[in-house]
């Protein structure tokens, strides 16, 4: 609702899901908006930030996924969508990756879960589903999409 208030008919807006785990949420978001505004010409894309990460070559091996943005991002309002915002590092990489497609007018961030006390970079979401205030680094948040309503689990690493 907040999105519709701010972006009107979405004629100059694109929703971009972040690979891999932001895709589910972004697709549902686009479905929900098209249901409310069947006439909308909202643009939708998917973005992979692998090549822009700051931890390449530091142990984990990253496999790129597909970026799929078949429109010009020039002068658009972009809403980046991801499931969990944690350290902020992948959002930083995503913003860089997005810039390689052109210069958008504005970039916003929408997340389902915000772990706001775990940030390592000065990044904060514009739209949030739930906030998880856990301070322990030994826990991780899992979003389960297999059911009709997505479920958010806070798991300790022992499990």
């Amino acid at each position: 609702m907040q999105l519709i208030e701010l972006h009107g008919d979405f004629s100059n807006t694109a929703i971009i899901g972040l690979q891999p785990r932001g895709i589910q949420l972004s697709k549902r978001l686009v479905e929900a908006i098209t249901e409310l505004q069947p006439e909308t010409n909202l643009k939708y894309g998917e973005l992979d930030h692998t090549f822009f990460r700051d931890d390449i070559g530091r142990g984990e091996i990253f496999m790129p996924k597909k970026s799929n943005i078949n429109f010009s991002t020039e002068s658009l309002n972009i809403i980046l969508v991801d499931d969990v915002l944690y350290t902020g590092r992948s959002v930083r990489a995503s913003i860089d990756a997005l810039m390689s497609f052109g210069r958008p007018k504005q970039v916003e961030l929408l997340v389902l879960v915000d772990r706001r006390f775990q940030r390592e970079l000065p990044i904060s979401p514009n739209y949030t589903g739930v906030v998880v205030d856990s301070r322990s680094t030994g826990e991780h948040v899992k979003v389960d999409w297999s059911l009709d309503h997505p479920q958010v689990w806070l798991l300790s690493s022992k499990e």
Partner: protein, 309 residues
């Protein structure tokens, strides 16, 4: 390179599995998309340094590797043997170790001796990418060839590819045979008997000495240059005769009852193995191969570069 055994060096196609190659292709798809966008650069390898050691002449491979490295944000140094201390008698290991002591992470090497990269990989502590070692292998060329076939024809599996020309001296031929077979294509080699290694059928390839027959069989023809610089004796009576029998002309293409794609790893000797009208025709994939070379090499560098710790 995440699947199966991780690979530290790219010494040849032999040693790779089909899933390694698929991983490289999928990564190259992403890089190709990036290269076609407005900003062609990523900082993925920004903290690594790559030495391009070319002990043999090269235009395409060298420029392609250098561009790929720069697009990935790596620092590069270039070295060619003609302007170096190799001329003063320094050995290969000494040369490379001296360069490595200046904190270089990866080495891209072309060398006239077959096996030079394998030899180096056993004696130095850096990742090595073979950019062509004598008559042995040229893995990135084979990868970009297969990638181009996949792009043009949808898939490599089930396709029929004929490699025409100087098979005996060609590293491109050997690497192509390995990669195409791994990906499920059928391979034939075609050329004068003197330029086809005696026991090549043990690799599971068909052999033909008749260009027309080979062209009728294939979906893709990969034309190779006659490598006069590697020929220590005469293998055929004259270049003119070779060109008449094995040179690809538009006339020969038009006589086929189907359309085939033409590839060439370059450099082209126009009028010898391929005529100008074929090289510049719509059948030709030559410039597409060169274009794909950068994306494929970026993929190889990126995947290997991630594993240096």
């Amino acid at each position: 390179m995440t699947s199966n055994t991780p690979i530290k060096h790219l010494l040849g196609i032999k040693g790779l599995s089909a899933s390694h190659i698929q991983t490289i292709f999928e990564t190259a798809d992403n890089f190709k998309e990036l290269l076609n966008g407005p900003v062609k650069k990523t900082p993925a390898l920004r903290d690594i340094t790559i030495a391009n050691l070319f002990f043999e002449n090269s235009t395409r491979t060298r420029v392609s590797f250098e561009l790929a490295e720069k697009r990935l944000g790596a620092d590069t140094i270039n070295f060619s043997s003609s302007s170096s201390s190799v001329k003063k008698g320094e050995t290969l290991i000494d040369t490379v170790n001296n360069i490595l002591s200046m904190k270089v992470d990866m080495v891209v090497m072309r060398h006239p001796a077959p096996g030079a990269c394998l030899f180096l990989s056993k004696h130095i502590d850096a990742q090595i990418i073979n950019a062509g070692d004598g008559t042995h292998e040229h893995p990135t060329q084979a990868l970009l060839d297969a990638f181009s076939i996949r792009e043009r024809l949808g898939d490599v599996a089930g396709k029929k590819v004929v490699i025409v020309g100087d098979i005996l001296h060609s590293r491109v031929a050997l690497s192509n045979i390995y990669s195409l077979q791994l990906l499920g294509a059928e391979v034939m080699v075609c050329g004068p008997a003197t330029l086809i290694p005696k026991h090549i059928s043990h690799l599971g390839v068909k052999v033909s000495h008749n260009l027309e027959e080979a062209l009728n069989w294939c979906d893709v023809a990969n034309m190779l240059r006659i490598q006069l610089e590697r020929q220590d004796q005469r293998y055929f009576p004259s270049l003119k005769e070779y060109s008449n029998l094995y040179g690809l002309t538009l006339d020969k293409l038009n006589r086929l009852d189907k359309e085939i794609c033409i590839m060439h790893p370059g450099p082209i000797n126009r009028g010898v193995e391929i005529s100008s009208d074929v090289a510049d025709s719509k059948h030709s994939m030559i410039l597409q191969q060169v274009e794909n070379g950068v994306a494929v090499r970026m993929a190889v560098l990126f995947l290997l570069g991630q594993q240096r710790l």
